[in-house]
Amino acid sequence: MGKNHPNVDSYVVSRVRALESLLIEKGILAPDAVDAVVRRYEQDTGPLLGARAVARAWSDPAYRERLLADGRAAVAEFGGEVDTLLVVKENTPEVHHMVVCTLCSCYPWPVLGLPPTWYKQPAYRSRAVIAPREVLREFGTEIAEQREVRVWDSSSEMRYMVLPMRPPGTEALSEEELVALVTRDSMIGVTEIPQPAAVR
């Protein structure tokens, strides 16, 4: 459980079951749909597709260009099912990007998996636009004062993902090794990817 799953009222659980059974009865919900969701997000969860795209972009300049031009098409090269438009913003020494959805919690599920709880809560949604550096510091991320912070408020059906900067000292790593370095939070833009300990 943990804090991702506060003790939910038993009323809520009963109501979900009730709605589920009513919708199965009406032919709206397939009887195996819940199992399919569990399978998908318990097994395929996580930011693997996003991490693959990032590692490839670091390794392959032509891919990087395709990713920045059309995120959906570039990610689909890995065979993933991406049913949203995807805009990828590249971090540079001059600009740091960060993604939020102030009005609800739009998130690039197809490339990053289930959103973390904090992403969906008012604390993050409210402050990311008015005090992003303060929020970043709470994630341990210090953005140099002369570096611009750009916050992307996901108000349309386009989804946003950050292409983080490749950490120094990773020139010798294979693409597969690079994938392992790429964290979900770095693709939301609340952290940067540190130089791996092994190459320090």
Partner: protein, 222 residues
Amino acid sequence: MNGVHDVGGMHGFGPVDWDEGPPSLDDWEAAVVAIQGATRRTGLINIDEFRHGIERMAPAHYLGSSYFEHWLDGIARVLVEKGAIDPAALDARTAFFAERPDGAARDALAAAPPATRPSVPHRGYVRPERAPPRFRAGDAVRARTTHPAGHTRLPRYARGRRGVIAAYHGVHVFPDTHAHGLGEQPQPLYSVRFEARELWGESAEPREAVYLDAWEPYLEPA
């Protein structure tokens, strides 16, 4: 609507409750995700109706409940409004499961369920361009001062504020009508850059800009 969901720029929610662990779904949450998918798949509830269903939660309930409780509450509201489910039946069945905490959905079914309805093909949200867009990258714009009681994707913090068109993204389904049974009425969509100083005045952090996706009716020339 100027609802409690429109939290951009608010204070008072405390520090971010950062949790490094990978997210997972409880059983009831997975069921909510499946239900949401089914209502979308069958064309019963579109994305904007879904969001507006959540926005109309009682404000104290919205702030006091978790994300997937929002989904549950919003979906049930819209399904009832559309006549797709009977609220009394939902209440009765909720009571049925309250008596059976370990029950499964099928326990409430008197007979074998019917065949599941076919999916409505998902067309995405981009539509053909019928006229040239009003604005071009680099144009100075101002987000309109408007406070509609209905659904909108223009957050309060941007209203009346000046920005610059950063990019044009083609013509997209318009949430303000799509949420209200008034059709897709597709509109040009832009990425608009707002300087933090313009949004927050002297309270702004240095060197910050917020980018917002804004449909053409949200904008006027500045």
